[in-house]
Every structure is written in structure tokens, then in C-alpha cells.
């Protein structure tokens, strides 16, 4: 048992399950769009805006809880976040007004903020550098597997028992996070880091002055936009194209399934090939895929191929982005620094969720947003090229900073 407690796999398992549950349930949010808007008799924009605010608060909370985790331990932070998620899902089941809709979504956003960054950072610290990228890929793959498992379950619950029951079930499904927090707490605060004398403010200062970090953060915005627009609006988009309801569930599940292979493959490739070049090609391929989907006829086969291919490129950006951050800045404040990058991702998510609903309510079509996805993808591919991952900033050496 002692050996088990000292094993890094202990932390990887805890982090993996935490991400599995949180991401799995987060990606099922889109399935609540139609039933809740029908019950509240409101447009899609209101739900999208509430979801967008939730995502925005999730982004704001990411560096805050990341910093809290770096200072006071990942276990305590995950425990608090787990409690917030449970309360928020119970609140979702009791939505009666617009206030409840916004309140529950914002609380859910805060509850899920930082979970990913914390799990990745704790894993990164406990694994040797040779396999790090692959293990970060495994953490992300578990999130994808969560999506693959949770989305069809929630879809089934909504179709058979209604959205109120489904959100209550989600509050129970999220509760293992409290147990996982104890597994994760075996790590994090008592480590000796190469940048041990660095303070939080030094770390933020060096990140703000680093051009590569700024480019990486800007590029990650696009990932958030793509992912949240698709996961929130794809079910409704397919419904508008007269495809069966079950196809939406399968499409989201297939994204999750292929995301497992995608994150594992890109995690592995990250230890072999330049991470920033991989990120550039990944965003380029996403744009090509969106372009093909715009042009292609919308039937079961094309939708499933699109979903599966998007799944490969879905969250494969995360282990690579996190890997670049730890390559440059080391591990000590990696949760917080990745949290800031994640904030940019969530601002993109906010716009992806809200703009999708806004454009649909205005024009009755999602077409302009699909085109925006194409343009943003190409832009992000270009943004990642000048990133320099060869500079390591581990102490106060300001001369090492790029200006």
C-alpha cells in the first residue's frame, strides 16, 4: 500500500478520473439546450449566453484556482471544485427562471475552472520528462473518454427521464471528484523545483514579457471557440438539418471517442516532433475540416466522419500547449500559468457559445459562424509558427526573456 501511495500512477489515476468526470459532463451541456429552452420558452441566445458566462467564469477561475493549487495543494483545490460542481448540477435541476439559468451555469463554470490545468500540472510534476507528453495525453484522453461515456448517458437520461432528472443524476456522477481529491493530494506542494526561489509575481511577470507565451495564449483562444461552438450548437444544427436526435448524441460521442486516439497520438508525437509545429498543423487541419463540412452534404455518414475527424483534433491541443508552457517556465507555477492560457481558451469558448446562439437568432442559420471557425483556424495556425520553445525561464534571469 505504501508503494502504491508513492507511485506516480496514483496521481495519474486521480487526475485522469477527475478530468474524465468534469470534461465528460461539461460536454453534455449542449444536450440541455433544446429541452431547457423549450421549458423556459426562451430563445437559444439566452441559453447560449448563460453557458458562455459559465465558460467565462471558468476561464477567470482557472488561474485563480491554479495559483491556489500551486500554493496550497491540488487535493484541497479539487475538493472545493468538486463541491461547487455538485451544487451547480442540483441547481440546474431546479431552474425556474433566467436567474437560475445564469446562476447555475456560472457556478458550474467556477466549479470546473482549473480542474484540467491542475490535473495536467500535477501529472507533469510526478512523471519523468521522457514520458511526460504521453502521460499528459493520457490525462486528456481520459477526458475524451469521459465525453464518450457521459454524453450518451446524459442523452439517454434526457430522452427518457427528462432534463431535471438528468441534471440530478449528473450531480451524483460528479461526486467521485471528492474521493479523487485525496488521491491527488499525495503530490504537489513539497517538491523541489528548479525555479524554487521564484515567486508567483516573478512567474507572472516573466510570462507576460514572453512573446512565445503571448502567442500561445492567443492561439489557444481559437481552440476554445471551435470546441465550444461545436459542442453547444452541433446538436441543434443537426436537428435543423433534419437529422435524427440520436445522431447528435452519436456525433458528440464519436468526437469523444476519437479524441482519445487524437490526444494519445499527439501526446506521443509531442515527445518526438516540435510541439509548436504540431499545433500549427493541427489548427490548419481543423480549418480544412470545417471547410469540407460546410461544402459537404449533411447526412449521417458525413456528420459522423466530420465528428470523428474533429475528435482527433479536438483537445489534442491541450497536452501540447501545456507541454510548451512547462518546457519554457518549468513546473512550479505551471497550474497558474496554464490557467491564464486556459482563460484565453475560455474567452474563445464564451464567444463560440454566445455568438453561435446570437447569429442563429439573428439570421436563422449557423453558416457565418462555421466560416468564422475556418478563418480563426488558419489564423491560429500562423500564430503558432513564431513560438520559440528553446528558451527556458526558471528563475529571475530577465536577460533570458524575449522582448
Amino acid at each position: 500500500m505504501k508503494l502504491l501511495k508513492k507511485s506516480p500512477l496514483y496521481v495519474v489515476f486521480g487526475g485522469g478520473v477527475t478530468v474524465f468526470i468534469t470534461l465528460g459532463l461539461n460536454h453534455s451541456n449542449g444536450l440541455f439546450l433544446l429541452p431547457i429552452t423549450t421549458d423556459l420558452n426562451s430563445g437559444r441566445e439566452l441559453f447560449s449566453l448563460a453557458g458562455a458566462f459559465g465558460i467565462l467564469f471558468s476561464g477567470i477561475g482557472a488561474p485563480v484556482f491554479g495559483g491556489f493549487s500551486d500554493k496550497y495543494g491540488a487535493g484541497r483545490t479539487i475538493f472545493i471544485l468538486g463541491l461547487l460542481q455538485i451544487i451547480s448540477w442540483i441547481w440546474v435541476g431546479n431552474i425556474n427562471s433566467e436567474f437560475d439559468l445564469f446562476g447555475s451555469r456560472i457556478l458550474m463554470g467556477i466549479g470546473s475552472s482549473g480542474v484540467l490545468g491542475i490535473a495536467l500540472s500535477v501529472t507533469g510534476r510526478s512523471i519523468s520528462s521522457n514520458n511526460k507528453s504521453l502521460f499528459l495525453g493520457i490525462i486528456m484522453a481520459s477526458g475524451s473518454f469521459g465525453q464518450f461515456v457521459m454524453v450518451p448517458i446524459i442523452n439517454y437520461f434526457i430522452n427518457n427521464f427528462g432534463w431535471v432528472f438528468s441534471s440530478m443524476a449528473a450531480s451524483i456522477l460528479v461526486s467521485p471528484l471528492l474521493i479523487m481529491s485525496f488521491l491527488i493530494s499525495k503530490n504537489s506542494t513539497k517538491q523541489i523545483f528548479s525555479n524554487n526561489d521564484q515567486t508567483i509575481f516573478d512567474s507572472i511577470k516573466s510570462a507576460v514579457n514572453n512573446r512565445s507565451y503571448k502567442l500561445l495564449t492567443s492561439g489557444f483562444f481559437v481552440c476554445g471557440f471551435h470546441v465550444t461552438f461545436v459542442s453547444t450548437h452541433l446538436p441543434a444544427f443537426l436537428n435543423d438539418n433534419n437529422l435524427e436526435e440520436s445522431i447528435a448524441g452519436f456525433a458528440l460521442a464519436l468526437i469523444g471517442l476519437f479524441n482519445i486516439f487524437g490526444t494519445l497520438s499527439f501526446g506521443y508525437l509531442g515527445s518526438k516532433v516540435s510541439k509548436k509545429n504540431l499545433l500549427s498543423s493541427l489548427y490548419f487541419l481543423r480549418s480544412l475540416l470545417f471547410l469540407s463540412f460546410i461544402i459537404a452534404p449533411k447526412n449521417e455518414f458525413t456528420v459522423l466522419v466530420f465528428s470523428a475527424t474533429l475528435g482527433i483534433l479536438w483537445l489534442s491541443t491541450v497536452p501540447l500547449t501545456n507541454g510548451i508552457i512547462t518546457d519554457i517556465f518549468g513546473h512550479k507555477y505551471s497550474s497558474m500559468l496554464f490557467g491564464f492560457t486556459l482563460m484565453s481558451h475560455h474567452v474563445g469558448s464564451f464567444l463560440g457559445s454566445w455568438l453561435g446562439g446570437r447569429i442563429f437568432d439573428l439570421y436563422g442559420t449557423y453558416s457565418p459562424v462555421w466560416w468564422l471557425c475556418v478563418i480563426l483556424g488558419f489564423t491560429s495556425a500562423i500564430i503558432h509558427f513564431p513560438i520559440n520553445t528553446n528558451i527556458k525561464i526558471t528563475n529571475h534571469d530577465k536577460s533570458a526573456l524575449e522582448t
Binding site: 427518457n160 471517442l257 486516439f261 497520438s265 508525437l269 518526438k272 516540435s274 504540431l278 498543423s281 470523428a308
Partner: protein
């Protein structure tokens, strides 16, 4: 049922082929090309994919009513 399974299998195989091509092309840019390690990785990935494909196919193969009853039973517990 069988049509949906065929569509699912078609989509799965098409995308998997694209992933393998992407993987091989990316590896051609690698600095240290350890082919045994790469082959092992893709082998295990294929294994996982086959397992996940088979487990997913159960949704199409098992009679939907039976599956619904099982899930309802689990929910009741």
C-alpha cells in the same frame, strides 16, 4: 439497425485511416525515429480502438428495448 451500424463502421474506418496517415506523416519529421517504439505505440492504439469499436457496436447490435430495460434497472437501483 444494420444500416446505422454500417454507417458507424464506415465513419470509424475512414477516420482511423486518416489518423494513421497523419501519425506516419508527422513521425517522418521526428528527430529520433525509434521505429520499434513507434510501431508498439500504434499497435496498442489499434488494440484500444478495436476494443472501443466493439464496445460501441453493442449499442447497435443489442436489441434497443433490452438495453433500455437494463439502463432503467440500473437507474432504479
Amino acid at each position: 439497425m444494420s444500416t446505422n451500424l454500417l454507417i458507424f463502421a464506415g465513419a470509424f474506418i475512414t477516420t482511423w485511416t486518416m489518423l494513421e496517415v497523419l501519425f506516419k506523416v508527422s513521425l517522418s519529421f521526428a528527430n529520433d525515429n525509434n521505429s520499434i517504439q513507434n510501431d508498439n505505440f500504434i499497435y496498442y492504439l489499434r488494440l484500444v480502438s478495436v476494443l472501443l469499436f466493439l464496445s460501441t457496436s453493442i449499442f447497435f447490435i443489442v436489441n434497443e428495448e433490452k438495453l433500455t430495460n437494463i439502463i432503467s434497472f440500473i437507474c432504479a437501483i
